[in-house]
């Protein structure tokens, strides 16, 4: 989890990274890595976890995201993490295609990738995760961030408030709750 109350806020670090501060890039990476690592653990297929080093995957994704920081300029921590999450999801899929081969040596197809459930999918099923992802994409940006930070990253309300620029922890809680209702409506609509 990214500490909310630090001397150097994530937003400030993002500013510094954008201005070309390599040190800030390093500090931002160090700050984000633990949360991303935990998150990636749940999204990586069980059978792939032995083949792909989660840390490597997360670090590579983070590096890619930071390299594109000039073209994508998230100003809020929440937006930045949501962006990282999307990058990481793509990376996981890419890496699975590249590294996981069947015994015969054929490349992983989409179908096979879908057959390799992540921990989260193992627990609740691929179909539900898909519905959740699709519904999440329909939410407005701040609501997406709120849901991701609370549901997926386990942020406290105060941390969410800092990340999405909400005035108070309680305001963040209401944002999360209302976003969950919107998400539920969207999930139902896609059934």
């Amino acid at each position: 989890m990214i500490p909310a109350a630090t001397l150097e806020t994530t937003a400030r670090l993002l500013e510094l990274v954008r201005s070309g501060d390599d040190g800030a890039r390093e500090r931002l990476a160090v700050r984000c890595l633990p949360a991303l690592r935990r998150w990636a653990h749940g999204r990586l297929p069980a059978r792939a976890r032995g083949m792909i080093d989660t840390d490597d995957l997360v670090q590579v994704s983070l590096l890619r995201a930071l390299n594109q920081v000039e073209s994508f300029v998230p100003r809020r921590e929440g937006a930045f993490l949501a962006y990282l999450r999307r990058t990481l999801l793509n990376s996981i899929r890419d890496e699975l295609r590249r590294t996981v081969r069947r015994p015969g040596g054929e490349e992983l197809t989409d179908a096979i990738a879908d057959d390799a459930p992540s921990l989260v999918e193992e627990a609740i099923g691929h179909e539900l995760v898909e519905r959740y992802e699709a519904a999440l994409a329909t939410l407005e940006e701040t609501q997406q961030e709120a849901v991701i930070l609370r549901v997926e990253f386990g942020y406290t309300y105060q941390e969410i408030a800092d990340a999405i620029c909400a005035p108070t922890a309680n305001a963040a809680r209401m944002t999360v709750s209302r976003a969950l209702v919107r998400l539920a409506e969207a999930m139902d609509g896609r059934r």
């Binding site: 976890r49 989260v120 627990a123 549901v151 997926e152 309300y157 809680r173 539920a184």
Partner: protein, 1045 residues
Amino acid sequence: MAAADERHVLAVAEAIADETPVDWEATPLSDPRIAGLRGIASVAAAFRDAAQRAEDPQPAQESETILFTWGHLHVRERIGGGSFGDVYRAWDPLLERDVALKLWRADEGPADAGARRFLHEARLLARVRHGNVLTVHGVERHDGRAGMWTDLIEGESLEERLARGGPLGAEEAALFGVDLCRALAAVHEAGLVHGDIKAANVLRERGGRIVLADFGAGTTVASRGQNGACGTPLAMAPEILRGGAPTRVSDLYSLGVLLYRLVSGRYPIEPETLGKLLEDHHNGARVPLVDRRPDLPLAFTEVVERALAPNPGDRFRSAGEMERSLARALPDKGHDAPTAPSWWPWRWVAAGAGAVVLATVAYLAVLSQRPSLSPAKVRALAVLPFHATGGTDAEFLGPGLAETFARRLRFLPGLSVSPDRSVSRLAGAIFDPQAAGQALGVAALVVGTVESEGGAARLTLELVHAHDGSLLWRTVVNGESRDPAALGDEGVKRLARALRLELPAPTDADASSQGASRPEAVYAWLAGRRLAAVRTGEALERAIVAFERSIHHDPDFAAAHAGLARAWGLAALVEPPREPPPQSWARARHAALRALVLDPGLAAAHAALAEIAFRCDWEWATAEREFLRALDLDPECAETWSSYAELLSVTGRHEEAIVATRRALASDGDSASVRVSAGAVFLEAGRFDEAIGELHTAIRLEPSSAAAYTILGAVHEERGMYAEAVGQWQNALTLSGSDPDEVSDFGRAFASSGMTGVWHWRLARLEERSRRAWASPALIARAHAALGHRSEAMAWLARAVEERDERFLRVKEEPAFDDIRLEPAFAALSDRVLLDVTALPVTAADSESATAAPRHPPSIEAALYRNRDGRSESLANGSTVHPGDRLFLAMTCAEPVHLYVFDEDRNGSLFVLFPLPELELANPLPARQRHRLPGQRDGIGQDWVVTSAGGRETILVVAARRPLPELEREILQLRAADAGRPVQRIERPMPEVVALRGVGGLAASTPPASSRPGSRLTQLAASLAERASQGEAWLREFVLESSPQ
């Protein structure tokens, strides 16, 4: 959609966001958004679990072959089954452990009443949380099959136990019965009845835990009644066989059958055919247990017979009543059964491998509906001591973590958390949520389990409804065993979220580390404090272990050293003490000074030092000064106020003592030890009614307080109510663990000869003890005095004064001494210890003048020897010693002294040669004995060994009537600087010896030579020179030459 629905949907969303449970059954699924939210709740839970697992290594079990998946469970193998369906061993990736999965037979659709009932009943059982009831982890329907998953128990059923080992003894059966009564109490309290208590449904886990389960033939009660083949009818109450519904008392009947069978291998009624069973019941064909097992204790047999009464009204009314009767039937061998809270999950954990026994759910019938309570509505709760398993410090970890957990919760605005003392008072009781809730005035209880294995740790927290024990909320926190505090912190955060309360950021005010560097040190310290408050010999021994464990984790933890000092001091006061009190006081002093070196501003350290000055040194002014210093630092410490009050009382300042006592009571009126102390103070002041009031309160707070009964007896004795006094003393004897015959004997002594018989009895007992261990000279003197043995009484009194026997302070005013109180010898003794002071000196200078020692130094004889192959060779001043030489000091003293021996080498390094903490010889050294220093270890005499080569070695020997704080502090600092040096042992060339840098030569020079100005030893000697000149200390400096090789 109506506005009300909007609010409800939002409330569900909030609950998901807050990670609090949602009662989906009570939530209408007609709103499609609810279905969506239910899916989101699953997503959120899956992310949480995955994040937790990211912290843990992958368990090996995950790689096993999977037969199929059911929900999130990976089903590994089929291990049982029947007409109801199948039972499997499955891997639960969320719980990360094997579970038992019972799957109902293929669903026959919504009309499958059996499946519906199975699910309903399983959900009810899932609400029962008890260490002796099988834990249900979940109930769901997947892939067209209803199922539930539970703990997988490793062990055997009692049926298997019976087949393997034959009938049991009454004691073992009663112990099983006690646990089963507790299990049934939990089931009944949850509004359920079991309906099928039998040997096959009770598991004995490896490690001994008894678990009530059901191997479930899957039949209903009704079909059981008709199914003569299953064997269960033989255990059924007659009213059930006649078609009645199962009840609590029918469960108890079945338990009676089980106990009958466990000790006899037979059933009470064994008809030729099952069809004849009811007829046999009707005809009273039951074979009394005594006919089968005439050797069993009558008390046990009577419990079984009462449980088996044909008329339900003649049986036990509740499981609790039967449990108490069974507990009373147990021989008194210190079993924990009647007192240990077996619901605590420490007996839940499977140990080792063994036959895998599967358990599933019993038939349960709903008796009542419970009022609902959501976690968000909980505003008053109590945190029960957590149970911890695994690791050396499990005993301390659970309660300590719970206490710090509760402390953090108290910072939640709007939440009331019960005081730790009130909670700990329930620790010895059988867990009864309703009773606990009422006693503590709370709606909910927090129950926690900490499991440690390797480097990983897991904290399971449950919020339990006090009304009925149902589960309101549950969470599992994973972490590292080396950082249990982090587990607690995360648990607090999650609970705060569940309660919908905002947890303030930790501040210095709620930092509970007490300056310790490791949480384990804090937990052990907390355990030590709790145990020391009990003040029985056994509890104090455990307290000492706890404090030592705390110090092991953090050697610089001042509070633990202070706690250790207090525990040793209290151990010296226990009757009988486990070791001669002077030894305990020496240990207390060492620990207190160490605490002060580490933290000069620690109130507990000053209080400990005050206790030593008061009860061991009889240095009243020092004691008062230290008490006041401690109270200045911590004005709310009731224990310090109590002790201070006792000091004032002993020195005759009764009014002030009562003021201090009232201050102690104001700080903590719920403390039994404070009440006992108040009773003693009122007794000394002659205010008997108030004394009795305080002592009765103490007994109500702590029914096992032997001290309260002892003093209560003394109050009655003062009033001339001797029969009442003896009765109270008998209570005290019983609570102190005396043999019942001994207690009866005491009563008979009074009955036959009145108080003379009592004193003869006591004297004989004390004299017998004095032949094998330390016995209080003051108590022996009191017995002699009461019997008119004046000369013996005076002799023992003199010895009591010489040994600084603390009991002398408490008995000096007793009527037994009235006849000899005016004798000059008694007055001289009193003068010597200033017992009759009316105005206590309050400054150090006053104190020193008032307690001035005789103006001549202690009379000491000392000589240094070299030990060569068992022969002692006296060493002269300037003698040359060689590396490997074994040396010892022989000395005698005319009065008890505190001795200190230091050694300084040619480089100016200073070492402590005596006292050494690992050796049996300790200060003060008794008079008129030849002492061989450094002492013994495990009964083997020790020597100092010369280890230096070359140069001059100087030894300084200091003796004094009183401890010399400057030297005590010096010793502690030297040891702290190099902990391994003073007791460093070498195996070569001689085993079992104490290795030192070098000693040698023998010379006497008074005052000490100052040949090495500026050396530490010289400075020490110089600082003591003034005392030596005034006769307060005796000094000798020995100079040796160490051979270069």
